[in-house]
C-alpha cells in the first residue's frame, strides 16, 4: 500500500520546527497569522500559527495537544449508552474491566452520579482539565442525559472544559444546544465520504424513526457528518475528526476524507488503527479483518499531514477513562468509591497546581530549544525512529520493565518529532522479567533504532542489542527531546566515523490488547 498512498514530503520541515520553539508560557502575547492555513503546530509544543483564541482552547487539552497530554488529564463519564448506528468494528455487548478501547465501560452513570464523579476526580487529580462524553454509545443519541450532565458540571466546576465525541448522525439537530452548553470541542468520527465504502463499515443506521441499511445508510451518515462539521465551524466550535484505518476498506480513501474534512474546517485529524482482535467479537474481528501495522499507519498519517495537524498520541481509551492519556485510573473512581469520598471542590488548589505545571512546561520548551540548537548547520539524510519509556512530563523516567507503552519519536537533523506510541505488555512482573513478553515488546518497537529508558536490566539489554535496537539509559530523568537530539548527534558521529553502519529497521506490530489500569 505504500506505493498507493504515497509518501508526501513533510510540509513542516525545519520551518515548522522553528515555530515549535515558541515558548508555551508566552502564549498571551503571540502574534496570530491565521491566513496561512497551516496548523501543524496545534498538536505540538507551541502556539505556532494558531490564532490565540484557538490556542487558548487547546493548550491544556490532552486530546488536542500532544504536548499538553504529558501534563494534563481528562476524564470521560459514561452516561450515554444508546447508539443510533452500528459499526462493524464495535461490539456493544462486550464489557471488560481489563480492556481499554472505545465503547467499553465498566459502569453506566446517571447524570447526577457523573457530576459527583467529576468533582471527586477533579479534587484528587488537579491536572484534570477536560471532561468528555464519548459514549459508550453516541452522546447525541442520548441528548437528555448528555446535556444534563454538561449543565450540572458547568455549574459545579466552571473551570473544566467540556467536550463531546459523536458519530455525527444527530449532530446537525443539536448544534444550538452544543453552543448553549458551552462545549468547546467536538470530535466527529468520520471513516468515509464515499457511501460505497461506508456500506462496508456500517451495516445500519437509525435515522428519522427508520432503520436504513447499505449505501442509503452510509450516504445519510456521510452527509450528516459533513454538514455537522460545517455547522460547528460556523459557530466557532473546534472540531477534531477521528478516522479508523481499516486495511483494504478505507485505508487509501482516508486521504480523501482528510481533504474533505480539512476543507470544512476540521482542526485536527486523528487516524487510529482498527482494533479487530477476534476475542472482542466485532464483525470485523470475527471476519478476520486485519489491523494495520505501525508502518502502514505512519505512512497514511504522513500522507495526510500538511495543512491540518495529525494527532498521533491517541490511546483509543475507554469511554469511562480517567487520568493522563495512557495511564487509566478509572478503577480508583468506581461509583461506589466516589459516593464514599468526601469531595471538596477547591478551585484555588487546582489553579495553584496548574500554575506549577505551566512552569514545568516552560522549562521543557527551553530544554527542547537547547537540544535543537546543536543541529545548526548540520544536515544528514538519515531519519530514524526511537522508542522512549516515559511516565509523562516529557521526561525519560520509566524503567524498561515497567513500561506499559513506548512513545515513538522520529529523529532527523531537522528535529525531534513525536510520531506515536506503542502499547506493550509490561516486561517485569513481580520483579522478574518474562521472556515471551520481551519478544512481544520487540515486535512492538521493531522499527526503532534505539529505546530510551530510565533503567534496564542486563538480560533485556543484551536481547535488545542482539535484535539491533540500542538500549540507551544514560539520559535517565532528562527531557526526551533534548536527550534524543544529543543521542542522534552521537549516532551520526558514529556513522560518520565508521564505528557503526546505518541500516533500515523493519516494521512493527500494533498491540491491540489490554492497557490494564495503572496499578
Amino acid at each position: 500500500m505504500n506505493a498507493v498512498v504515497g509518501r508526501r514530503e513533510y510540509a513542516d520541515g525545519p520551518v515548522a520546527t522553528g515555530k515549535m520553539m515558541q515558548p508555551a508560557a508566552e502564549h498571551k502575547g503571540c502574534r496570530t497569522s491565521a491566513n496561512t492555513g497551516h496548523a501543524s503546530c496545534g498538536s505540538r509544543a507551541g502556539q505556532g500559527d494558531l490564532p490565540t483564541g484557538i490556542w487558548e482552547k487547546v493548550k491544556n487539552h490532552p486530546c488536542y495537544s500532544e504536548e499538553a497530554h504529558h501534563h494534563y488529564a481528562r476524564m470521560h463519564v459514561a452516561v450515554a449508552p444508546a447508539c443510533n448506528i452500528q459499526c462493524n468494528y464495535c461490539n456493544r455487548k462486550y464489557d471488560c474491566a481489563n480492556e481499554s478501547r472505545p465503547g467499553v465501560v465498566s459502569e453506566k452513570l446517571t447524570p447526577e452520579q457523573a457530576v459527583r464523579k467529576v468533582l471527586a476526580v477533579a479534587s484528587t487529580i488537579p491536572q484534570m482539565t477536560v471532561l468528555g462524553i464519548a459514549g459508550p454509545g453516541d452522546p447525541l443519541a442520548n441528548p437528555e442525559k448528555t446535556f444534563r450532565t454538561f449543565d450540572l458540571v458547568a455549574k459545579a466546576a466552571p473551570d473544566i472544559k467540556l467536550c463531546l465525541s459523536t458519530n455525527g448522525l444527530a449532530l446537525p439537530d443539536h448544534i444550538d444546544t452544543i453552543v448553549k452548553s458551552r462545549i468547546e470541542h467536538v470530535t466527529i468520527t468520520i471513516n468515509m465520504i464515499d457511501p460505497e465504502i461506508g456500506a462496508k463499515i456500517y451495516p445500519w443506521i437509525f435515522f428519522n424513526h427508520k432503520r436504513y441499511t447499505g449505501i442509503d445508510a452510509a450516504r445519510i451518515l456521510a452527509d450528516r457528518q459533513l454538514q455537522g462539521l460545517e455547522m460547528l465551524g460556523e459557530r466557532g466550535i473546534l472540531c477534531k475528526v477521528n478516522s479508523v484505518m481499516i486495511p483494504q476498506i478505507n485505508d487509501h480513501h482516508l486521504v480523501e476524507v482528510n481533504k474533505a474534512v480539512k476543507s470544512r474546517g476540521a482542526f485536527l485529524h486523528n487516524i487510529m488503527p482498527l482494533i479487530s482482535a477476534p476475542q472482542y467479537g466485532t464483525v470485523f474481528g470475527l471476519n478476520g479483518q486485519r489491523c494495520p501495522t505501525a508502518q502502514q499507519l505512519k505512512v497514511l498519517q504522513d500522507a495526510c499531514e500538511g495543512e491540518i495537524a495529525m494527532m498521533r498520541h491517541c490511546r483509543q481509551c475507554r469511554a469511562d477513562a480517567v487520568g493522563l492519556l495512557g495511564e487509566d485510573r478509572s478503577a480508583e473512581f468506581t461509583i461506589g468509591q466516589v459516593m464514599k469520598m468526601d469531595v471538596k471542590y477547591d478551585l484555588e488548589m487546582r489553579k495553584a497546581y496548574q500554575d506549577r505545571v505551566e512552569d514545568e512546561r516552560a522549562a521543557k520548551v527551553t530544554a527542547y530549544q537547547d537540544g535543537l540548537a546543536k543541529f545548526t548547520g548540520e544536515m544528514s539524510e538519515i531519519t530514524l525512529l526511537v522508542a522512549v519509556a516515559t511516565k509523562g512530563s516529557g521526561l525519560i523516567n520509566e524503567h524498561f520493565g515497567h513500561a506499559k507503552e513506548f512513545q515513538v519519536y522520529e529523529l532527523s537533523t531537522s528535529g525531534v518529532k513525536f510520531v506515536g506510541h506503542r502499547r506493550v505488555d509490561v516486561y517485569c512482573q513481580d520483579g522478574h522479567g518474562e521472556e515471551d513478553r520481551l519478544s512481544t515488546i520487540i515486535r512492538g518497537i521493531d522499527d526503532c533504532h534505539a529505546v530510551f529508558v530510565a533503567k534496564i536490566g542486563g538480560c533485556p539489554k543484551s536481547n535488545l542489542i542482539k535484535t539491533g535496537i540500542e538500549p540507551v539509559d544514560q539520559y535517565a530523568h532528562e527531557y526526551i527531546e533534548k536527550s534524543a537530539s544529543a543521542w542522534f548527534r552521537s549516532y551520526l558521529d558514529r556513522v560518520k566515523s565508521g564505528e557503526i553502519q546505518h541500516a533500515k529497521r523493519g516494521d512493527a506490530a500494533i498491540r491491540q490488547g489490554a492497557l490494564i489500569s495503572a496499578a
Binding site: P81, A82, C83, N84, Q86, R92, K93, K108, G137, A141, N142, E144, F206, H209, K210, R211
Partner: protein, 74 residues
C-alpha cells in the same frame, strides 16, 4: 402481538426507551422490558416498530406470540 425484549440479550443501552410512542418500555432488573398491554407494534405511529429498528443487538426485540395481534383503532 406485542413485542418483547429477550432479557439475556438486552445490553440495557436504553436506545429503545425514549422512542416508544406508547411509553411501554421501562428499565427493570438491569435490562429493559415492554409492557405488553401498552405495545401497539407502532402501528399508526411509524412504519416500523421503533424498539426493533433502534435496538443495536439484532434479534433482541421480538414478537411475543403468546399475545393476540394488536388491532389498530379504525
Amino acid at each position: 402481538m406485542p413485542f418483547k425484549i429477550i432479557a439475556s440479550q438486552c445490553t440495557s443501552c436504553s436506545a429503545c426507551e425514549p422512542l416508544c410512542p406508547n411509553v411501554a418500555i421501562s428499565e427493570k432488573a438491569g435490562g429493559f422490558v415492554i409492557e405488553p398491554a401498552k405495545c401497539t407494534e407502532c402501528i399508526g405511529y411509524f412504519e416500523e416498530p421503533q424498539c426493533v429498528a433502534a435496538c443495536p443487538v439484532d434479534g433482541t426485540c421480538v414478537i411475543d406470540t403468546s399475545w393476540p395481534p394488536y388491532q389498530a383503532q379504525a
